[in-house]
Structures are given as structure tokens and as C-alpha cells.
Symmetry: D3
Subunit: 254 residues, 6 copies
């Protein structure tokens, strides 16, 4: 029988999630996502140009940056360290966020524009990269809505042939405990669980159930094909719940 979780959740239960859209007043799109003790501020900025290698192709680009405030963590992380040794971790995460958002963006419909989504972790309690993806989708949605409303008010033609987001995308973590193969995988690890997990999965998927990214990493405990299947089932359920929260946040914007 599985161990009880530190916060009493069932193995297939998400932490409480809330998304506050439009949290910032300067950014074209923004959202503050709180998933348990993990709080990530996502800010989407619109730029009227694309990277050099994309120029003159009538296509846009979506990218992301990811960072943590020094005291997001239990003990303070020096900024210097965050910018030095951990630069690899940050780049790995921001590439993941960018790919996840582009997977549901019709870049041709977006036109020659770039959206940069800054994901800054205000407080960390496990699952910051997956929360960042879930929140960034809402910030991106608001930024595209801003373009759609701004252009006509400036007497310009409709900016998009169709709204550039094809479906919702969200992400969640799953973990396998270190001490034995029989334990149930657990959905949405908090930090106390994550730090002792034997294998750790980040799954990104869309509303239609297609997979964008599967990352399954064993440090202490390798895993079987059967365990991977259970992990993917759990993630699918969690992602469906997160997409419902995204939709409610977006509804509040329109």
C-alpha cells in the first residue's frame, strides 16, 4: 500500500490551482499561477519582429525565459550562482516551455511577430517548470487577444486570419518513490516529495490528448515500461483538470 502523501492528497490528486490572468498592467499578457506553494508569474511581451533566421517567411515565433527569484527557495540562492552554474537548468527549462507553447501555436497565423513569455518563479515548492507551462499558456492567450483588439482600434486590418492558438496545452509532474517498484506513481509532486523521488516525470500534453513532451528521468531508481504507462495515465487526468482551470481564467478575460 502506498505511503500517505505529506499533504494528505490521493496519489492522483492535484494540489489546489489558481490562475490570475492579467496580473501585470504593462505586459500585453500575464498570469500568476499558484499550484500549492509554487507561484509563477508569467508575462507575455509582443514584439513586431522575428529572429533573423525567420525573417520574410510570414511566420511568427514564440519563446520563453525562465528564472527563479533568489528567495523563491527554502534557502536563498545567490543570484551569481543562479546566473552561473544553473544557467544550464534554466535554458533547458525555457526551451521546454517554448516548444510546448509553439506546439499549439499556428505560427503562420501569428504573422511576423514574436511573443516572449517570461516565467519568473516567485515561490518554489516543486513542479515549477510544469506550472510555468500551464500559466504561460494563459499569458500567451491574453497577449494574442491584445493584438486582436489593438489592431482594429488603430485602424489596421484584422491581425490574424484565425486566432493562432489551436488548442490548450498544460503540463504536470509525476513521481515514483525511491524505495520500491510497487509504489503507486504520484501526481503533481511537491518539493518534499520531489526531493526524495526515485524517478521524476514531466509530461506536456494538449486538450486533445496528444503528447508534446515526455521526460522521464531516473536518478536513483530505474523504471519499467509498465510503470511508465501508469505515469502517463495519471498525467493525462491531471492535465485535463489543469486545462479546465485555464479555460476559466481565459473566460474571465473576455
Amino acid at each position: 500500500m502506498p505511503q500517505p502523501r505529506p499533504d494528505g492528497r490521493q496519489s492522483d490528486e492535484l494540489r489546489p490551482v489558481s490562475i490570475t490572468p492579467g496580473y501585470l498592467s504593462h505586459a500585453e499578457g500575464s498570469a500568476l499561477i499558484a499550484q500549492g506553494g509554487t507561484h509563477v508569474l508569467c508575462a507575455a511581451s509582443v514584439e513586431d519582429r522575428v529572429p533573423g533566421w525567420l525573417r520574410n517567411q510570414q511566420r511568427g515565433w514564440v519563446t520563453a525565459e525562465y528564472a527563479m527569484l533568489p528567495r523563491a527557495t527554502h534557502t536563498r540562492t545567490a543570484r551569481a550562482r543562479a546566473q552561473g552554474r544553473d544557467v544550464g537548468r534554466s535554458q533547458e527549462i525555457q526551451r521546454l516551455i517554448g516548444r510546448s507553447l509553439r506546439a499549439v501555436t499556428d505560427l503562420a497565423a501569428l504573422g511576423e511577430r514574436s511573443i516572449v513569455v517570461d516565467c519568473d518563479v516567485i515561490q518554489a515548492d516543486g513542479g515549477t517548470r510544469t506550472a510555468a507551462i500551464t500559466g504561460a499558456y494563459v499569458a500567451l492567450w491574453q497577449a494574442l487577444l491584445w493584438i486582436e483588439r489593438e489592431a482594429p482600434s488603430a485602424g489596421e486590418p484584422e491581425p490574424f486570419p484565425q486566432f493562432p492558438l489551436t488548442e490548450a496545452v498544460a503540463a504536470v509532474s509525476v513521481g515514483i518513490s525511491a524505495d520500491g517498484a510497487d509504489d503507486d506513481p504520484m501526481l503533481d509532486l511537491c518539493y518534499a516529495e520531489d526531493s526524495v523521488a526515485g524517478a521524476d516525470f514531466n509530461i506536456v500534453a494538449t486538450e486533445s490528448g496528444r503528447l508534446v513532451e515526455v521526460q522521464g528521468t531516473a536518478e536513483g531508481s530505474m523504471y519499467s515500461r509498465a510503470q511508465l504507462d501508469t505515469v502517463l495515465d495519471l498525467a493525462a487526468r491531471g492535465i485535463a483538470d489543469l486545462i479546465a482551470v485555464q479555460k476559466a481564467a481565459i473566460a474571465a478575460l473576455t
Copy 2:
């Protein structure tokens, strides 16, 4: 007669100010200060050691770091730029915050401990460095309270001979407009005012009215001794009001 201000304030009127103490759950002390559209998150971290040059002197140290999130500003500031060209501005500001806090800290009473106060600007609308000082004082207060309560609960002796803060400190900006010497100085500039000011002052003072720092910088318009006197009068009134808000926030903690 002076120009009306963009938000209709009187020349001696602060923007609405609120301070939320204890905003973060991991930090020993924290406060989110909102002064008009300027929002700064201050996090105070306690460390049981001091910098090398202070060791074995039975004294503590208080220091600060300051940074802006990329989309705190009207247009996005690239992180790379923020860490490169603007590093001088950030260091100048964080040294100012550190000096201001140390001016009211009894470092001998603090003992061999360091407090680092991270001031991260979530949203910028003028006066971020002065708001950071005002908010950092509350975060520092909470961190010292945490030490005071933690030590006895761990069976240790009283940590301080007396509470190490001697009086409150706060800061405010004042500006002189660029177009003429007769205009009234204006208290607590928002960004729209700051960006066109002819001279720009940051004043840090304590509850007892002593000055910690006066910085008066002319780019476009030099100023007279008489104008400097008016600026200092305005700042004194603003700082008194800010200290009242600090006291209310601290009262909510205890």
C-alpha cells in the same frame, strides 16, 4: 502656477501605498510594497555568518540586492542587458538600500548574523529604489522577529540584548520639472513624471527626522539652494506618512 499632475495628485501628495508583510512562506521576513503602479517584493534571508572582514567582532551585517523582472517595465528589458549594461545601476541602488537599513540597525545587538534583503521589482512605475527601502524595512523587521521567536523555541538563549532596529527608516523621491525654475517640486514621482523631470531627488530619512541619504541629480536643469530646501521639506512630510504605513504593517505581524 504648477501643472496638474497626470494622476491628479497635489504636489505634496503620495500615491496610494500598501505593504503586505509576510508575503512569502519560505523567507524569514518579507513584504510586498505597492506604491501606485510600483510593486516591489522584499525578502529578508537570515544567515548565521558574516562576511570575512567582519568575523569575530561580535557584530552583524545587513545588505541588499536589487533587480527588476524583465517585464516590470513598459517595454521588456532583456535579462542579458539587465545583467550587463545595467549592472552598475543595480549595484548603486543595492548599496543605497543596504546603507539605509544599516543606518537604523544596531549591528552589535544583531550579533554575528547577516541579513540579506532581496528587492525584486515586479512592476515599475517610478520610485522603485525608494519603495524598495520602505518595504525592505518591514521585511527586515519580520526577519528579526523570526530570530527572536525562533531562538527560545530551540532552547537557545535570548538572541538579542535589545531589538536591533533603533528607529524606522523610509525613502521617497521628489522631482523638479524641466521647464522652469518656478515650478513647485513634486513628491513621489510616477514614471510619466520621472521621465521628463529636470532634476530628481531621492531622500532617505528616519522617524526622528535625521537624514541618511540625500541624492539630488540634475540632468537637464540645475537647481538652487532654495529649491533644495523645498525638496527636503516635501520629502520629510512624505516619509512621515510612509512610516505610518510601515508601522501598521508591522503591527499586523505581532
Copy 3:
């Protein structure tokens, strides 16, 4: 029906693979792996100390570094760029190599020693990170053999209670083409295939079939659970073949 592959291989066929153990004369362990046009030089260095956070725990550590020579690629990559913008990619890869090696290393049996495995890509034609893992295992094996033989010759006690490698580990890539869901996944992509793939998988597994890492990344084409299953089947077969090549190389050393 699937497209023919550029080099005429079947979809489940590896490129020709050879591993030259002991390629370098100074390194305690080394191997040059050639997998088609991808050539990676792996050098394992033994150090008689462990990172600070592991000290005095009677356990060892295995880590890796990964880099490309400037003209490993079709067009030259400036060293400056390789050290700047691509630092995130390199760190991501070297963490993957390190985790994969540690998954089959008994760190307690290793004792307070570190092994660093440098993986330098001499020539790149797709799949450099997976080839690096496969080659690094052989270099690590030789370095451990060196310790085992060196210690007694220096009159020291047996260095290991048992040989610290628990089983073989190897890795391979699999790809799904961008143009349609019905195409067969293809094993061991060369660069020409990799650059047009719709989704790209790196799988690390051990001789006993347990999974160490699954990374499945969609940029252009998302994928279904069924496709992921086919991918994992293909990878299992490729990894079994690679482990046979590793065993032959190791046999040549002893």
C-alpha cells in the same frame, strides 16, 4: 508505406557502430565510438576526491562533460558561440550522460573517488548525445579496471568490495517524421533525418531492459501513446545491439 531512408537502412536498423577502447594514452579510461558519421571521443579521468556535498559519506561520484569541436558540424560553429548561447544545450546533455552512468554505478562500492567522463564530438552526424552515453560506458569501465589493477600494484588493499558497475547502459535515438502520423518511427537518426523529424526521442536503458531516461520532444508534430509504444520497442532492440558492441570492446581490454 514508409519513405526509404537516405542511407538505405531499414527503419529498425542501426548505423554501423565501432568502439575503440583505450584510444588515449594519458586517460585512465577512454573510448572512441563511431556510429555512422558520428564520432565521439570519451575520456574517463579518476580523481581521489568527491564534490564537497558528498564528502565523508564513503560514496563516489560519476559525472560527464560534453562539447563539440568547432568543425564537427557541416559548417563551422564559432567557439565563442559554442561557449555562449549553446552552453544550455551542452549542460543539458552532460547532465543526461552523468545520470545515465550513475544509474548503473554502485557509488558506495566506488568509494570516495570521482570519475569525470569527457565526451568530445570529433564529427557530428546526428545522435551525438546517445553515442556519447554508449561510448562513455566503455571509458568508465576501463577507468574502473585501471583502479582495480593499480591499487594492488601499489601495495594498497583491494579498492572495491565489488566491481562498481552493476550492468551495461546504452542509448539510442528514434524519430517520427514530420509529415504524417502513419509513418513508422525510425531507429538511430542520422543528421539528414534528424533535421526534418517531427518528433525526436532519446532513450537510455540498461541490459536488463529497465529505462533510465525517456525524452520525447515534439516540435512540429505531436505524438500519440501508440506511437510512443512503437518508439520504445524500436529503442529496446537498438540498445540490445549496442550493448553487444560494448561487451566486445570491453573484452578486448581484459
Copy 4:
């Protein structure tokens, strides 16, 4: 009664000051200023272009850089440290020098040209930033004279509608001792005084008595409005004397 000063000066007495204009042969303008043991070499370089954000506005720009030679100080400062940790101090100082020079420069009269004034401290004995401003004014003057004489000799039209310097600018430090509020402030601190001062002021003002910058910083001792007034009186007298030395140096050039 105030303490005697280490070099026997009165509290309102400058150290001996000399300015050697045209010290360098390649620079368009230069001056070596010696103020007591503080020696700063100022070199003004003319460039026929302006920063990007100023282009096509028929205005020029004046900026400064500031650095110390490693053995300008009592003990050697490593170059690496000077370029790392102290970069904030240098940037803060060079922005101050640049603002001070621009305050007396008619940028429209200058036309689309930039002047960069490098201020390198050859030997430091307190007050390097204020000496740099005083010397930089002379170097800037010589560089503008060079433009004025060079243009007609090259058959070009008069370069300036009028000489672009509107009046002289100079700077001086003042200090308050740490041990008591009754002590007289002291003009032009040497290093031995500066290192024990309780509050430290840098004042920049023009020949007509207008203030360009007031920086008053307390580390150990806060100060009153009355003390600030005395400081400003002392500075006004010192700056008048320094401007007389500048005028003599400039007269030697013409």
C-alpha cells in the same frame, strides 16, 4: 573645538591643486589634475558620431569612463577585482562625471559629435571622483578647442554656432566626522579623513553657483538639515577656488 586635520589644514581649506592641460600628445584634450596626493589623468576623445538613440537629432553627447590603476591605492587592487566586484562603483562614478559635464554643455551647439572623457586614477588619496570632474572639464575644453581649430584648417565651415561650454563646473567632497554632531564639517577630505568620516558629501556646482549634484551619504552618522547647510556653504567656497585653477589652466592653452 574641531580636531586638527592630519595635514594641518583649516576645515575650509583645499589641498594644493594643480592642473596640467595637454598632458597627452595623442588625445584631442587632456589634463592631469593633482589635488594633494590624488592624481587623475583625464583624456578627452572626439568621435564623429553619436549613440544610436541620439542619431539625426543634430545634438551631441558627452560621456565619461572612470578607472583606477591597480597600484593607485595604498595596497594593490587586483585588476580582476577592479573589473568585477567594483564595476558598480566605477559605473556610478562615471555616470556622475558624465552628467556633470553635460550640465554645462550645450549639446545642440556641439552638433552630432561625441566626446568621451577617460578619467584614470594614477594615485588615490581621497576625492578621486570630484578631482576627476574638475580635471575632466579642462580636458573637455581643450577637445572642443581642437575641434574649433581643426575644422577651418581642413577647409570646413565653423564647427559650432557658439562654443558649447556654457560655464565652468567643478566638484569637491566634504565630510562630517563620525564621533559627534558638533564637529565642523571639513572640506576636501584626504584618504585618512575619508576612511573614518561619519558622513560624506560630494557636491558638483557651476561657476554661477547652481547645483548639479548633491550626494550626502551617512554610513555611521546620520546628519541634520543644519549640518547639510554648513556642508553646502563649505563646498561653494571650495568650488569657487577650483574654478579659478581651471581658468588658469585653460588660459595656458589659448
Copy 5:
């Protein structure tokens, strides 16, 4: 009488040398040179542009880069260190390689093209910079041959008025032992000799016997004019032998 050398060579005897031309498949020119235990991989990359300061002068440019793999040496050199403290050594060496190649290149005949020759040390056993020059000449030769053959096949005119290499260039080290002035200089030091040498010479010369570079460096033992003469004689003989090996490698290409 001179000491016997560690590998039994005569004082005027080179180590065994082999050059493998065309070692890499992507680079336009390449060569792997093995001189005793020193192995350097040279890769020549052709670019259809020249540095900015050479533009529109109908001349080309040849440059080099030099680096060591971390485990080329007896003990591992951290990449960070190789990129930090040793950057000066690498730049010094790569400038030497570039100058040596340009000395025998007719840059006007080359036309507006650049060749960058990357010299990466796979294994180091003394004399890496001189081996790099000897190998780089072969890689450069192959890259120029590639241009000559590629252009007509693309229907373009003959690329060169004449082949741009005017004669062969090669390099060798010579050493004087630390313990006495009477010892014979020794040709082509291995690492064990180099690390105890009293003075160390690198000589670059051409087939016609002209000198391109003479670098004679004493750390422990200064040297006389007579010793320098013997050194130059030895080097001339060694370089003649190396040029014969270059010619054989080039013959294999054509």
C-alpha cells in the same frame, strides 16, 4: 657528453611523424598529425567573406584557432580553466599559427575568402604548437584544393590566378637543458624533456630556408649567441624532414 634522451633518440632526431590528410568528412580540408605522443587534429574551413577591415581589397585571410581537449594532458585540465586563465596562452599560439600560414599564402591570389584552421590537441606530449603548424599547412592545402576543384564543377570561373601557397612551412621545437651551458641542444622535445628544459625554442621556417618566427625563451637558463646558432642549425634540419612528410601527405590527396 650529453645525457641520453628518455626515448633513446639522438639530439638531432625527430620523433616518428605521420600526417593523415582528409581525416574529417565535413571540413573542406583536414589533417591529423601524430608526432610521437602529440596528436593534433587540424580542420580548415572556407568562408566566402573576409574580416571587416579587409573588405573590398581583393585579398583573402587565413587565421587559426588552437585549443586542447581536457584530457589531452597527463592530468585533466578543467574546461573552465582552459577558457579562463589559459586563454592568453591559446591566443598567443593561435596568432603564431595564423602568421606562419599567412607567411606562405599569396593573399591576393586567394581572393576575398577566409580560411580558418582549427587546431585541436587530442593528446599532448610536448611541441603541440609546432605540430599544429606542420599539420595546419596540410589542412590548408586540402581546403585550397577543394576550392580549386569545386568552383569549375559549379560552372564558375577558375578561382585562383595561381595556387595561393607559395612554398611549404613547418615548425619544430628545440631545447637547452637546465643544468649546464655545455649540453647539446636537443631537437623536438617531448613533454618529459620540455618540462625540465632551461630554454625552449620554437622555430618556424619555409622550404627555402627563410625564417618566419624565432622564439627563444629562457626561464631558468639564459643562453649565448653561440647556443642560438646551434639551435637554428638543428631546427633547419628537423624542418626539412617535416616538409618531406607534408609533401607525402599532400601527394596522397591529389
Copy 6:
């Protein structure tokens, strides 16, 4: 017949040279050397420790650093560029200066002390590295004299068994013009000559005529053994003259 030189000197004639010992008041040793338009400030700093790899060997160390002020040159060199791209040139030069000084220093007699000689180019007109060596010798001499006088005054034993400098060392440049093999080499190039030279030599030698360093670099024109002999003859004469100037400067110190 050789071309006349820009400043009318004979081919074997040095530029006017002066050395001002004790130019700085904080440094233990210092000298300002002016050789024609080249001015280098040399400052020797004494430290009571040695680098880690020399510890506990009863020997000292002498090292140097070299840099140029931004406006030492005809046009300004940005500090950023000086610290980036040109770092290799500076490191190459400072290693040369350090080796040259150590060649005449009895490191055992020096004891466990380090001397760092900072060579900062105030104005550059060719031959800055050779002037730096010649000046640095005087600064080093004064620093050793300071140690010798300081120790007894502090009641300590005699610091040196004998004075640690064994003989004088100085350096000079020689050049061969680019346009023909028959031209006489010229001693002590100024910038106008250096920038068009075909080959360029830096020679470091001691009072007794022994060679410390010979660097002969051809960019445009290779050179013969016979030319190298003439170069070495010229350098020997120049160095003898420079050593006479050093001796006069040192005599003024004692």
C-alpha cells in the same frame, strides 16, 4: 641605401630615454619610463606570500601585469575591447615581462615573498613591451631596496642573504622594413616604423650579454639567418645603452 627614419635617427640610434624612479608614493617601487613618445608607468608591489604551488619552498616569485590606458593610442581603444579581444596580447606581454625579471632574480635569496610589477602604458608610440621591461627592472630594484631598509627598521633580521638581483636586464625592439631584403635593420622602432615593418624583433638581454628572450616575427617579410645576426648585434648595443640609463636612475635612489 636605407631610407631616412621619420625622426631623423640613425639605424642604430635609440630614441631619447629617461627613467624617473619613485614616481608613485604608495608603491614600494615605481618608475616612469619615457622612450620617445612611449611612456610606461611601472609599479612594484610587495606581498608577503607566494602562489600556492610555491609555498614552503623558501623561494619567492616575481610576476608582471601589462595594460594600456584607453587613450594611450592614436585613436581611443574601448576598455571592453581591451579586456576582451586583446586579452591574449596583454597576457603574452605580461608573461614576457615576468620571465625577463625572473631571469635576473635570485628567487631563493628573495625568500617567501612575491613582487607584482604593474606596467601601465600611459602613452604608446611603439616598443611598449620592451620599455616596460626596462622600466620594470628599476621599479623592482626599488621595491627590493624598500624591503632591505624596512625590515631592520622594524627590528627584524636582514631580509636577504644577498641582494636578489644578479645583474641588470633590459629590452629593445629592432625592425626590418617590408620592402626589401637589403635594408639595414633599425633599432628601437617608433609606431610609424613599427606599423609598416616587415619583420619585428623583441630582444631581452642582460648586462653580461646573455640572451633572455629572442622573438622574431615575420608577417610580411621572412628573414634570413644573416639578417637575424645583424638584428642581434644592433640589439646588444641598444641594450647596453639602456642599462646605463637604468643604473643612473637606481643611483638616484640610494
